[in-house]
């Protein structure tokens, strides 16, 4: 299908995850007539301009009406369309939470919801646009796969996988334009199979979305202090890759990192797996603390919540000192 040259990967990273999604959808649409995009008056913001130029009749703008958007996508899917409905992560998962539950969880319609602005990507748009409770809002709804790509190339692969997946999907996009590349080369992507990016024996970091790159940098810092650190990219939060967790039980500290509330996201998902085990390492759960802080740029917000690689490194060193 699409040729992944290294300049393509770089192009995608400059575009950021939203643009990468639009790029992927455009490629998918060339080969599959059933692909349809829905937007709630956010076509440009969703990265769908090129798709719209190529296939204007395949973009349905429902206006500022997220709840209706999900119902329409659901109805469309009953006749074989593969709808991708896009909006901000917050509005999909909170404003239209029940619609997600009803159409995706209960009726299991084959629709894909793309929530962009996960984490603090929206910067100065402020708190209303920070997608930091989206995963926790929908995680307890059965039957919804929750995908959280680490970089733009992975976003393309996740979009393609979502289209092929038979069943409802929530695709959570994080980060801003010029998002750092985690993958510099093409690789095999499979929904539900976490990817070990780095090996290590003292600590295992399970990270997702934009926090994967931060965690890789943290691991390098830890390396310099003599701490051997594994990094696992959890690109699928639900269904969680239990085997990947089981493979890391021998470390002295298991860390989870997410650009999402500490409550109910990746950390909680991993904790739920660990809680069933008799022997397990302690878990350090790094995420967004349970408070709203005044808005700022993306980088500023990461700093405020201790989610840049320096803060992550510090937190890990401190906790590791206590448990090793």
């Amino acid at each position: 299908m699409l040729e992944i040259k290294h300049t393509t990967i770089r192009t995608l990273s400059i575009l950021g995850q939203r643009g990468a999604f639009g790029y992927a959808l455009n490629e998918l649409a060339k080969e599959n007539e059933q692909i349809i995009a829905l937007t709630s008056d956010l076509r440009t913001t969703s990265g769908l301009d090129r798709f719209n130029n190529a296939y204007p009749e395949r973009v349905i703008n429902v206006g500022i009406a997220e709840q209706n958007m999900i119902g329409i996508a659901s109805g469309l899917s009953t006749l074989g369309f593969v709808p991708f409905a896009t909006t901000f992560a917050n509005f999909a998962s909170l404003r239209a939470c029940e619609q997600m539950r009803h159409h995706m969880g209960y009726m299991r319609e084959n629709i894909k919801i793309v929530g962009f602005g996960g984490g603090f990507a929206m910067g100065m748009f402020g708190i209303t646009h920070y997608g930091i409770e989206d995963v926790s809002s929908i995680r307890s709804i059965p039957n919804i796969a929750i995908l959280s790509p680490a970089d733009s190339l992975e976003t393309v692969k996740a979009t393609i996988a979502a289209a092929q997946h038979k069943g409802p999907v929530y695709l959570r996009l994080t980060g801003v334009m010029n998002q750092p590349m985690v993958y510099k080369e093409d690789y095999d992507y499979e929904i539900g199979k976490a990817v070990q990016l780095r090996d290590g024996t003292d600590i295992a970091i399970f990270a997702t979305g934009g926090m994967v790159h931060q965690s890789l940098q943290a691991a390098e810092q830890l390396d310099k202090t003599g701490i051997s650190c594994k990094v696992v990219n959890v690109h699928t939060i639900i269904p969680i890759d239990k085997q990947a967790i089981m493979n890391s039980l021998g470390v002295k500290l298991l860390v989870t990192v997410e650009e999402h509330s500490r409550i109910g996201g990746l950390g909680s998902t991993v904790a739920e797996v660990l809680t069933e085990l008799d022997e397990k390492p302690p878990q350090l759960l790094i995420g967004v603390s349970n408070e709203y802080k005044p808005a700022g740029s993306y980088e500023y917000m990461l700093e405020q919540y201790g989610l840049n690689f320096m803060s992550i490194t510090e937190k890990i060193i401190k906790r590791y000192g206590e448990v090793k």
Partner: protein
């Protein structure tokens, strides 16, 4: 190949235009130079000159001419 030839060639290949057309191009002046085209252009420029551009410069590179100015920052002389 001079830097100018290299630079012009990037535009020629990315947007499939002649060298003479390339010099007058600006963002959105042709269909191919949309937001995705822009990113492809940047990636190709970076690849050609073995550099990594800052986000601000990526956004500011709004025309062939402007690009030449911006690349000075990355020690690319024309």
């Amino acid at each position: 190949m001079t830097n100018l030839e290299k630079y012009t060639n990037v535009f020629v290949e990315t947007f499939e235009v002649d060298a003479s057309e390339a010099t007058g191009l600006a963002y959105q002046s042709i269909l191919a130079w949309d937001s995705v085209g822009h990113m492809s252009l940047i990636a190709a420029i970076e690849d050609a000159f073995d550099i990594m551009m800052d986000t601000d410069d990526i956004i500011d590179l709004s025309s062939f001419e402007k690009g030449k100015e911006l690349l000075a920052k990355y020690d690319v002389e024309f």
